[in-house]
Amino acid sequence: MAVDYTKYLRMDKMPLYWCPGCGDGIVLKCYLEAIDELGWSKDDCAMVSGIGCAARVTGYVDFHTLHTIHGRAIAVAVGIKMSHPDKHVFVFGGDGDLVHIGGNHLLHACRRNVDVTVVLINNWIYGMTGGQHSCTTPPGAKATTAPRGSFEPTIDVCKMAIGAGAGYVARGFAGDPTRLKKLIKEGLEYKGFSLIDVFSPCPINFGRRNKLGDPAKLLEHMKSFLVSSAKAKRMSEEELKGKFITGVLHKDTEKPELTEAYKSIVEKAQASDEYWAKYVKGTLSESDKNKITREELKKLYPYDVETPLKQWKKL
């Protein structure tokens, strides 16, 4: 056995709660292999999830885990990352949880480029709550709330994330675990917001209603929608209509990361606080004056603080 999964799993919670043939277990396995290859300690990892089938991952992994309210997993993860910038923070969630309900949080985490890795398990349906159609259900597919087929236009999560400014965006497929593991590993290593959109089969709530109840059959059906990024370069736009490209779609190595930008502004503010404390006491030396320039101070404090301080000193 190459990877000892029992090291990362809470084995007393096994067997897994998911239905037979659900892709969530495959994604979890790829993810644990990627963590094992990077050699990160379990105590340095924190995982956050919302509500849904995919969000039950936090119950099985032996990291610091948090199971929060529906759709707000990314908001909580950003909070954890800002207070502990040296820890690795991950989010697991489904398409209904992170895109449909918590879409706003996803957009703003993309914009801020905070160092959180989001693994989005896209199974085209609200699996746990009973098979309602979500924003990624393909048109014509049946669901509990769309018995005659879904009629709404869908959303391409990866294109949305690239537009919002995410640093690393990739799309994987649960039926291709070797490539998925590489994508997840690259996303974990990337310093900045990384989104991995994983297409994963839901044989019970999606497959059974669309006459694709056999997990292997549903896997082949999902595969027919996917085109690898190398193959997509040789295809015309008309051929790519209705298809999804897998692989690394976007990687921006120059965008600044949020916690680092925050750290630099805290250092600047603390340096200027020290400067003013010495200025008031009258113990300002020549070397202190070179630490921060007057122009930088004026940018930090746009108000006129020098005149009242001088007057206060005279009193």
């Binding site: 067997p15 998911w18 896997l219």
Partner: protein, 90 residues
């Protein structure tokens, strides 16, 4: 002395009988069987262990952490489908 174990081991307490391992196996080592003693009624079974090339595709695709495949190069002794003891390292 080679270790006495199968090249593919299935944990029947974790297997839910989804059939994905049977679908991906390139050498038809596995088969789905009905077994009322396991909790889901059907389970995967190793029927042709001598054909296994240890590509680990079944281990990678199994969503329930139920399959273990021995690494290539490890010498093991096991009983094949005819009932003969054979020793293989890959």
């Amino acid at each position: 002395m080679a270790e006495r174990r199968m090249p593919v081991e299935i944990n029947h307490k974790l297997c839910k009988g989804c059939g994905l391992c049977v679908h991906v196996c390139p050498k038809n080592v596995l088969e789905m069987v009905e077994d009322l003693s396991v909790w889901m009624g059907t389970t995967a079974k190793v029927v042709r262990p001598e054909d296994c090339i240890r590509c680990k595709m079944c281990e990678d695709i199994c969503p329930d952490f139920a399959i273990n495949v021995v690494d290539v190069g490890v010498e093991i002794t096991f009983e094949d489908s005819q009932g003969n003891l054979i020793t293989k390292s890959k």
